[in-house]
């Protein structure tokens, strides 16, 4: 916020300037009225005074334009800056953070909170400065140039306005809260009805559900009427009290005129000043509200920006590696107190494929998480190129190891751009090459827009298998030394899976691969297969070797063969 102090200063100076200028017209008007009344107006005086009014009017217009521009402009820039900071900060935070946080909450920081802060910085500051300076100026002018007695009498009702509107504010706040709560209940109700529409339709209760909705919705209405009842009080109250002030100033003014202390023109000026006072009185109650909200939001943003990623680069971290062979030596690893891996040791060598299989929850994905340093191993070591990955710059590690995760995520962009995500300057040939290796080229060409087809939320809907294959192509583009497929072929049919894996072997003989899979056919050709159960390696070896052992691997293999037959409609297609 401090960065903008210069613009704010200019804005505020202009604002005070406007407040000062606003004091002039009532005086001139009063003067003209007096001259008219005394029948002493000469055309010279008249034109001079009117010219003065015109100048003040124009000056006011210009100054008003600029203070708005400066103060609101600063608040717009502040909003932009906070948004940028948050975005940058989000890119720094690690996956552990994202697992703990809800997207909606994170979004709320960058939307509602930024908006509230920027509102405080704009409208809030404006209101504060404007109401305080204008209010003070006007009262001082009334006292010094017209009459302190009249000022005192005329202002008598105004404290009641402050009192009443503050009171309304509180009532409105609580009633509004009740109305909001009813509204969110209505929201939940609709959510439930829409999600449960099958049940409602199948039991024939739709009509009764509509009745229930009607009850809730009437309640929302009734609560909003309660809000309206307070809300509608503001204008009449202000009108009533200001009117009282007017009648007091005109009435008492008449007495003062009789006593020869004032002129009619001064009364006219005085009522014009009174009009200027209404706004500062109103602004005060409103101001506290805005500032309160802005401060709470600013605190939330500050707290968010203070969150540090849990895994950070060592200052001495290596920035180059002689080779990319990975050695995994995990004695044990636990999330909190819950041990998930024990005695897992293996090597990922150039050109070799490691298969990791096992039941859901056996610890397969944890191994991947350790390789990408989402978590650090305390009891054990993982080395790449002979160096402990904790001493390797994280960005370098990411360059060397490419992971295709279980949950494929595509951006709202063209397919080509999605594939080239990690290498934005890639040419079309490279993209097509990667798509071919991932066996998705044919699918893409069949789409009406080909590689230019938009995917993601607003684009075409692709099947899970197509998305998975595009994610694979995306990972292939980077040419990482180690490619990890974390159950990334689950939605791809067996035949396609086989050819993708075959492409890998032929395509890039230098690359090391880790294939984590549910379906054993994905790891059949691996150089070594690890079977994980309860965090331990219970079987290891090649496919042929493991088939000869009685155990999890062979049982699962048989079972999956049978499943394939059933899915094929009972015919033995293998």
């Amino acid at each position: 916020m401090r960065l903008e102090w210069k613009t704010y200063t200019i804005g505020i100076v202009l604002l005070i300037f406007v407040a000062g200028l606003e004091l002039i017209p009532p005086r001139i008007i009063g003067r003209i009225v007096d001259e008219i009344n005394r029948d002493s107006l000469s055309s010279n005086t008249l034109w001079m005074l009117l010219g003065g009014l015109a100048l003040v009017g124009i000056g006011n217009y210009i100054a008003r334009f600029f203070w708005r521009y400066f103060i609101f402009g600063a608040s717009i820039r502040l909003g932009r800056m906070l948004r940028s900071q948050l975005y940058r900060h989000f890119t720094d935070l690690d996956q552990r953070f994202y697992k703990k946080s809800r997207v909606g909450d994170l979004m709320a920081h960058a939307t509602n909170d930024v908006q509230a802060v920027s509102m405080t910085a704009g409208a809030g500051i404006l209101t504060l400065v404007d109401s305080v300076t204008l209010g003070t100026f006007v009262i001082i002018t009334m006292i010094t140039t017209i009459s302190w007695k009249l000022t005192l009498v005329a202002l008598l009702p105004l404290p009641f306005m402050v009192l009443l509107t503050t009171r309304y504010g509180k009532m409105l706040h609580s009633r509004f809260g009740v109305a909001q709560a009813a509204f969110s209940e209505l929201n939940d109700k609709v959510q439930e009805s829409v999600s449960g529409v099958r049940v409602l339709k199948s039991t024939g209760e739709v009509e009764r559900d509509v009745d229930a909705f009607e009850n809730l919705s009437s309640e929302v209405m009734a609560k909003n009427v309660r809000v309206a009842k307070i809300d509608a009080l503001y204008d009449p109250t202000i009108f009533g009290i200001v009117g009282l002030s007017y009648i007091l100033s005109v009435g008492y003014g008449a007495v003062l005129i009789e006593q020869g202390e004032l002129t009619i023109g001064q009364i006219v000026s005085f009522t014009a000043y009174l009009a200027l006072l209404t706004w500062p009185m109103l602004a005060f109650g409103w101001l506290f509200n805005i500032v309160e909200r802005g401060r709470a939001s600013y605190d939330r943003i500050e707290r968010m920006l203070a969150v540090k990623p849990e895994i950070q680069d060592d200052r001495m971290a290596a920035t180059t590696l002689s080779h990319s062979e990975v050695e995994v030596d995990v004695q044990s690893f636990a999330y909190d107190d819950h041990t998930v891996l024990e005695d897992v040791h293996f090597r990922i060598e150039r050109g070799k494929t490691i298969g990791i299989v096992g039941r859901t929850g056996a610890g397969k994905t944890t191994i991947v998480r350790l390789l990408t340093r989402e978590y650090d191993v305390k009891d054990g070591k993982i080395k790449i190129g002979g160096i402990n990955i904790r001493q390797v710059k994280k960005s370098l590690l990411m360059d060397k190891i490419a992971v295709v995760p279980q949950d494929h995520f595509l951006f709202s962009d063209s397919i080509a751009n999605n594939i080239a995500f990690g290498k934005p300057d890639a040419d079309m040939e490279e993209i097509i090459e990667a798509a071919k290796v991932a066996e998705v080229h044919e699918d893409i060409v069949r789409l009406s827009e080909g590689y230019a087809t938009l995917v993601g939320e607003r684009g075409v809907t692709l099947s899970g298998g197509q998305k998975q294959r595009i994610s694979i192509a995306r990972a292939l583009m980077t040419g990482a030394d180690v490619l990890i497929l974390d159950d990334a072929l689950s939605a791809v049919d067996a035949k396609t899976e086989e050819s993708i894996i075959e492409h890998f072997r032929v395509g890039n003989p230098e690359q090391a691969r880790v294939i984590v899979a549910h379906r054993l056919s994905a790891v059949e050709h691996a150089d070594e297969i690890l079977v994980i159960e309860d965090g331990k390696v219970i079987q290891r070896g090649t496919h042929d070797l493991l088939l000869q052992e009685a155990g999890w691997y062979r049982e699962t293999y048989d079972r999956q063969q049978l499943e394939a037959i059933v899915e094929g409609g009972g015919h033995d297609e293998t």
Binding site: Y61, R64, S84, V194, V225, G240, E258
Partner: protein, 587 residues
């Protein structure tokens, strides 16, 4: 231009809702007229006071008191009626919104299921609640402001004419000027506003996507590139807001204030020049200044509400689009009255497709005689669920014929069909409320006694009793606190309470804890007794005693018969059975 036409149509349609409230609106309008008149009389009375008493310096007590009394009476009635008109307008506005809300909710709930499959729940919820809320703002805030402003404007001019017709006529010049300013402001602000809004939603979409895809972004180390992209949008958004700000600063309040200043100059010039040739009453000058200020306030009010107004029109348009989407549930289509008497279900050569291209059911024929159990088995996508979707009349079928007791499905009244054909869903969606509420599900014909009997019948009673408050137990988190078996039992009880003649069971795929498994089995047996049952079975063990088992594959019935017959055939069913009973090919 085309945009304007559409906007106008939306407004017209919104206003047509107001027709129903002619009388209360009329009353509110009368209140408004009284309030405006009383308010505007104030400066006139002050004018009289100045010209008749202050200027000559005579104060006849009676007259002063009379004037003061009139002023106070008018003042108090202005306060009172201003409050009354405001509250009356708001009440009507809120009622109208309530109407719109009911219309859209009823309309959406009456749509066929295909519509729900296609439209994300979030979108529907947002239309029914948030968009109607924006429409509420339009009615409560904007429309009443417009009406009030217009009345005040007209009223003020009337008083000006009473005071000084010549000057009032000159003052009419202001009207085209106002119109010009509003027109210019609207012309530019519509565009800028749309830009700001679009860029903001783009900004939020980018942010949302980045948060969701942060893993991928970091994995491919594209943080800097995406920050740059975000910055671009962020900057564009800032630019658009700046343009908007400039426009607001130029054309909104400052220009109105400038115009006011010049009007006062004109006014004073007029009277100043006049005073040089004849006697001018200063009270008139005072009153004129007061009135002129009041002309400007409504214009400012209208302009400040314009953006809200546009927003609300966009929302209203979205609401109307849904109201215009006409995809009613299949419902009763044929004349005549049909009743379910015995519960014989017959599919005769039924072919069905969701999208009109790929047939998901091909030539399906089978009969379930009264009291019989027909089981449907097959892997995902084989067409089991589609059969149920047709029998429950959730989707209209293509060719072929489905009958219950010889009567075509389309001849049954909705309520008859729902009462007699009970569906037990895989996921027994539990609503907010107590267990008992969930068993009754709003149906007043089911009393607590019957709900309890149903629960006892399906053996859900014992676990319900153990909950705190028993049947009064409030279901939390959509029933996530219950085990899948318990949820199944509740679904059973819900259906049994309705005592249908035909039972459709969609068995849960998720495994059921062994503790409840047995009870589920017993309940299933009991429920099926005396009812025609069509059951989708995932675990073949549960349907071994079915009268007929239909094995589906790719929308066709590939095998049919009872358990023993199918095992003997040695086809798909046998393989599935082996797979499930844990026997492998090798052994």
């Amino acid at each position: 231009m085309k945009h304007d036409v559409q906007e106008w149509q939306v407004i017209k349609r919104l206003l047509s809702y107001a027709k129903r409230y002619g009388k209360p609106l009329g009353i509110a309008f009368v209140f408004l007229l009284i309030a405006t008149g009383a308010k505007l009389a104030g400066p006139f009375l002050v004018k009289v006071f100045i010209d008749e008493f202050i200027t000559p310096g005579v104060y006849p007590t009676n007259w002063v008191i009379a004037l003061f009394t009139v002023y106070m009476v008018l003042h108090v009635s202005a306060i009172l009626f201003d409050y009354l008109q405001s509250i009356s307008f708001q009440k009507v506005a809120l009622k109208i919104v309530q109407n719109i809300r009911m219309d859209i909710f009823r309309h959406v709930m009456g749509m066929r299921l295909a519509y729900f499959d296609r439209t994300p729940a979030g979108v529907l919820v947002s239309r029914i609640t948030n968009d109607t809320e924006a429409v509420k703002e339009l009615y409560v805030g904007v429309m009443s402001t417009f009406v009030q402003s217009a009345v005040q404007l007209v009223g003020t001019y009337i008083f000006l004419y009473v005071l000084e017709p010549t000057l009032a006529t000159i003052g009419l010049v202001l009207l085209p000027l106002f119109w010009l300013i509003i027109w210019a402001y609207r012309r530019f602000s519509t565009k800028y506003f749309a830009q700001v809004r679009d860029l903001l939603s783009q900004l939020n979409a980018q942010l949302n996507e980045s948060i969701n895809g942060m893993g991928v972004i970091q994995q491919f180390r594209q943080e800097e590139r995406l920050i740059r992209q975000f910055e671009q949008t962020n900057e564009a958004h800032q630019e658009a807001r700046y343009r908007n700000l400039k426009l607001d600063s130029m054309l909104l309040r400052p220009i109105i204030e400038l115009l006011l200043a010049f009007s006062i100059i004109g006014l004073l010039g007029y009277y100043g020049v006049l005073s040089m040739s004849e006697q001018v009453q200063v009270g008139v000058v005072y009153a004129f200044i007061s009135y002129i200020e009041r002309i400007f306030r409504p214009v400012l009010d209208i302009m400040q509400r314009l953006s809200e107004f546009q927003q609300a029109v966009v929302s209203a348009d979205r609401v109307f689009k849904i109201l215009d989407t006409d995809e009613p549930a299949p419902g009763k289509q044929m004349p005549g009255v049909a009743h379910v008497t015995e519960g014989e279900v017959r599919f005769d050569d039924v072919t069905f497709s969701y999208d009109g291209e790929v047939d998901v059911l091909k030539n399906i024929s089978f009969v379930a005689k009264p009291g019989e159990t027909v089981a449907l088995v097959g892997h995902t996508g084989s067409g089991k669920s589609s059969i149920i979707n047709l029998l429950t009349r959730f989707y209209p079928y293509g060719s072929g014929k489905i009958t219950i007791d010889g009567q075509p499905l389309g001849r049954f009244e909705e309520q008859e069909l729902r009462d007699q054909v009970g569906l037990v869903l895989q996921d027994p969606f539990l609503f907010t409320g107590t267990i008992e509420d969930n068993l009754k599900l709003f149906n007043p014909n089911i009393d607590s006694e019957r709900a309890r009997e149903a629960a006892e019948f399906v053996q859900a009673h014992s676990f319900i009793e153990k909950l705190d408050a028993g049947y009064g137990h409030v279901v939390g988190e959509r029933g996530a606190t219950f085990s899948s078996g318990e949820r199944q039992l509740l679904a059973f009880a819900r259906t049994v309470a309705r005592n249908p003649k035909v039972l459709i069971l969609d068995e849960a795929t998720s495994s059921i804890d062994t503790e409840t498994e047995e009870r589920v089995q017993v309940a299933l047996d009991r429920m099926r007794r005396g009812r025609t049952t069509i059951a989708i079975a995932h675990r073949l063990s549960t349907i071994q005693d079915a009268d007929v088992i239909l094995v589906l594959h790719r929308g066709e019935i590939v095998e049919r018969g009872n358990h023993q017959q199918l095992l003997k055939q040695g086809g798909l069913y046998k393989k599935m059975y082996e797979l499930q009973s844990g026997q492998s090919l090798m052994s």
